[in-house]
């Protein structure tokens, strides 16, 4: 099977892959091949169908049509076991590790027949140590996975695949959780793998990474393969155009006119919640008429800051002042009453109640007050009027206000949340990943609304893991790293590379 002539050798071929979820066609007749020893980038927006395609390749999903061939043999559909046996390894975006097991146990899982009498730990430990050295993947084999950092977990995921002699490695958005430095280490590992004849599919929507690591780029848009180019013969701008299908026109905010400080944090600390980082001595001032962008690698305290401003958590030390008065009794309801509009990170789990109607979701934050309710009695007509007003004013596409919100697309769901928040005319807006997973039209819409709210005098805190988004929208930028905040950087005063240094934790006074 193995030929010595290298890169021209096709190790994987997808033919005519089509997959539908209800009315949505996630993958539409996609075909491509992968050669030995190459890194192919699969580029596309959120929702373009990249993950679905890879889940079909790996056997998590069954395609409605099409075939997958590995080393010339057709893979039986819907069997991750068959994909693994054929030499396909996948590093999932959401790690598939059991926190209660050790690194070694996670690697061993599924590698021996279930009814085998023992685990063969000793031999496995040696082999893992060898792989760690060969590929630059340092991790302690007997550590409990639950105690590992995100970067270490990713190394375990890669080791899992290598341990099974994967010849084809799929990495789904592997850099989303890494610092620029960790990303460089990952790329080094991938280069070593390729040098040993492995082939890599690298899924991303970050253009600079794609151009840095891949030799070929496949572009997916709305479930279709819309372009295939050698990385050397293209540039970021052209890739971006292919990805979104048009000249990208990120909304360009006008010059901000910052006003009074509406919210101030002074030396605020919050307690760490399990694996989530808490805040450490955070000073922050949000001003009227200004967008403050919070940049940082995921999991560095963004959640803690969002929880604090949402009212879900209170400071364990330090002062939080709202409109000059120190906050005492802090809760989500108090936050809403204080004029904080909150767009949560997870619109499905936190922002809406899936089995509630649009009407019921529209009044989630106002149901307890007049005029939606009086003395404990709901005014359902009033609630419905509010929902209808939001649906009309925010272009929420839906069958009607009495539809369950679970039937809406992510973009329309987000528009309803946006309407719910903005209709209350908040003086402070917390926008936590407000456009993640939305299509480009919805992204522009949400961003324009946030800018309009700023122009109307609101103080906006924009939290995003997408540095480009932060750079485009923010009047000033703060970087968060391990629960600490950088100084405020005015728009245009720092390059992405400089911000990357801060994201990696360099520059903080107490940096270890």
């Amino acid at each position: 099977m193995t030929h010595e002539d290298g890169a021209q050798d096709t190790v994987l071929r997808l033919t005519g892959i089509t997959k539908r979820f209800g009315a949505l066609t996630a993958n539409d007749d996609i075909s491509f091949g992968l050669a030995r020893g190459e890194v192919v980038a699969l580029l596309g927006e959120n929702g373009a169908g990249k993950t679905t395609l890879m889940n079909i390749l790996f056997g998590h999903y069954t395609a409605d049509a099409g075939t997958v061939e590995v080393f010339g043999r057709a893979l039986p559909p819907g069997q991750p076991g068959a994909a693994l046996a054929a030499g396909v390894g996948m590093v999932h975006q959401h790690f598939t590790l059991a926190d209660n097991l050790t690194v070694l146990e996670n690697i061993l899982l599924g590698t021996r027949p279930l009814w085998a009498p023992g685990l063969g730990r000793a031999a496995a430990r040696q082999r893992v140590a060898q792989l760690s050295r060969d590929f630059g993947l340092a991790v302690h084999p007997d550590a409990r996975v639950g105690a590992l950092s995100v970067g270490e977990r990713q190394r375990v995921e890669i080791l899992k695949a290598l341990y099974r002699d994967a010849r084809i490695l799929i990495l789904d958005e592997p850099t989303a959780v890494l610092t620029p430095q960790e990303t460089e280490a990952l790329f080094e590992t991938l280069r070593r793998a390729v040098a040993q004849g492995l082939s890599v599919i690298f899924i991303s929507h970050k253009l600079h990474e794609v151009t840095a690591i891949s030799s070929r780029v496949l572009v997916l848009r709305h479930g279709r393969l819309v372009g295939e180019v050698a990385t050397a013969r293209t540039d970021r701008h052209r890739l971006a155009e292919m990805m979104v299908g048009a000249e990208i026109s990120a909304p360009a905010p006008s010059v901000a006119r910052p006003g009074a400080v509406l919210l101030e944090l002074d030396g605020v600390e919050t307690e760490a919640q399990g694996n989530a980082t808490g805040l450490r001595g955070v000073n922050l001032a949000l001003r009227a008429g200004q967008i403050t962008g919070l940049a940082g690698v995921s999991g560095n305290g963004q959640g803690a800051l969002a929880d604090l401003l949402s009212g879900l958590a209170a400071p364990s030390a330090g002062r939080m002042t709202l409109g000059g008065a120190e906050v005492a009794d802090w809760s989500p309801r108090a936050a809403v009453a204080a004029g904080i509009g909150r767009i949560p990170e997870d619109r499905h789990r936190t922002g809406t109640i899936a089995d509630f109607t649009l009407t019921e979701n529209a009044v989630l934050e106002s149901y307890a007050r007049q005029p939606v309710s009086r003395r404990g009695w709901m005014d359902r007509a009033e609630a419905r009027r509010r929902a209808e007003a939001i649906i009309a004013a925010y272009d929420v596409r839906c069958p009607g206000p009495e539809t369950r919100i679970r039937l809406l697309s992510g973009g329309n769901m987000q528009k309803l949340i946006l309407g719910r928040v903005l209709e209350a005319a908040p003086s402070i807006i917390l926008a936590n990943q407000p456009v993640r997973g939305l299509d480009i039209g919805a992204v522009t819409y949400v961003q324009e609304r946030l800018i309009a709210a700023r122009d109307a005098g609101a103080a906006v805190l924009l939290i995003s893991e997408d540095l480009d988004e932060v750079l485009a929208l923010s009047d000033e930028i703060r970087v968060i790293s391990e629960g600490r905040l950088s100084p405020a950087f005015p728009r245009g005063s720092r390059s992405p590379a400089e911000l990357g240094q801060w994201m990696a934790g360099h520059g903080f006074d107490d940096a270890a």
Binding site: A23, Y367, G376
Partner: protein
């Protein structure tokens, strides 16, 4: 295999599958009665006859349904908030206990005693559930096990009282409480017919719960908490307080079953006051899909099966436990059928 949601289920699917579940239950019942050497059709006939074949039978069914409406409502209210109250049995006995204590010990005149007993029962039942709910809210202790265990503790407590402080001195040594005075009992709705006002109270409660769930902020909060506590908390709904209120209502409703059985039917408290009304309430509520008005219908259905099966087993060789099997099976068939109206099974 895996499950795939159906966006718009057809009416045939929505009605056909639950009908199929009922049919499956009937087939199972036929098999069971044949196992006992009886003709299934005759068995069904006898059950139907025993449940609704005469005025007496019908009244018996309504009487049996009364506590089941209360416990069914108690479970339905709690399960809406995903509060797994499996302790309706204990709450029922708590209600029965304070009913007897107030009715026999305070000497209140009837018109005062009856509302006092009912009110005290509601409070007592609510308090019994309050403990497990506070443990759940404060410490994260699973309420399924604590409410279940409280049933056993309550049964022993009642047994102690009936053999000790509450024992009827005129009871010929039987462990039972003294009887309520005549004027502290719930009157019959129609003189001469064996059906008391507890039944009407149960209907009013069902209506009240329905109004609460659909028209009030508390109902909205309860549903939000049950469907997605994380989103509810984010929106500012005080999830812990909502669960406590739910517990007080749920426990209170279950306790009214005890009040109604003592003050309307039995007149005194014995250790076998409830043949598992608290547990059967779970089936009643689930068959009604937790809808408070549906609870009335399903309580009547469940009561009919029990009363009918009792009467049937006196005549035929089929043990009356067939009723319990049928209801348990109907519950399992029904939850599966309801699921399959929303999803389809696909290969791969």
């Amino acid at each position: 295999m895996r499950l795939e949601p159906i966006a718009a289920p057809t009416p045939a699917r929505r009605l056909g599958l639950p009908a199929l579940a009922l049919a499956a239950t009937v087939v199972l019942a036929s098999g069971l009665s044949m196992l006992a050497g009886a003709d299934p059709l005759a068995t069904f006939g006898q059950i139907l006859q025993g449940a609704a074949g005469s005025k007496f039978a019908l009244l018996e069914t309504l009487n049996r349904a009364t506590p089941l409406i209360f416990t069914g409502l108690a479970v339905a209210v709690a399960f809406r908030a995903k509060l797994w109250n499996i302790g309706a049995e204990a709450q029922l006995y708590a209600g029965a206990l304070v009913t007897v204590v107030i009715g026999t010990q305070t000497g209140l005149p009837g018109p005062l005693a009856i509302p006092a007993m009912a009110l005290a029962a509601v409070v007592a039942g609510g308090l019994v559930l309050l403990g497990p709910v506070l443990l759940k809210v404060r410490l994260g202790v699973d309420e399924v096990v604590t409410t279940l265990l409280l049933n056993f503790i309550m049964a022993l407590f009642i047994s102690y009282l009936l053999e000790g402080p509450l024992k009827d001195p005129m009871g010929m040594g039987w462990p039972k409480s003294p009887a309520l005075p005549r004027d502290a009992r719930l009157p019959r709705i129609v003189e001469g017919l064996r059906l008391h006002w507890g039944f009407v109270l149960a209907l009013i409660c069902a209506l009240g719960v329905w109004v609460m769930q659909t028209r009030t902020t508390l109902g909205y909060e309860i549903r939000a908490t049950g469907l997605n506590p994380q989103a509810a908390r984010f929106a500012g709904i005080p999830v812990g307080r909502v669960l406590v209120k739910t517990a007080l209502i749920s426990g209170g409703l279950a306790a009214l079953a005890g009040f109604s059985e003592v003050a309307g039917l039995k007149g005194n408290l014995t250790a076998d006051l409830s043949p598992g009304f608290g547990y059967t309430g779970i089936i009643v509520a689930m068959l009604a899909l937790l809808h408070p008005l549906g609870v009335v219908v399903s309580a009547l259905f469940v009561a009919g099966i029990f009363v009918g099966a009792d009467s049937m087993s006196r005549a035929a060789e089929v043990p009356s436990y067939i009723a319990d099997i049928l209801l348990a099976a109907a519950l399992l068939f029904m939850v599966l059928a309801i699921l399959l109206t929303r999803v389809r099974v696909v290969r791969g």
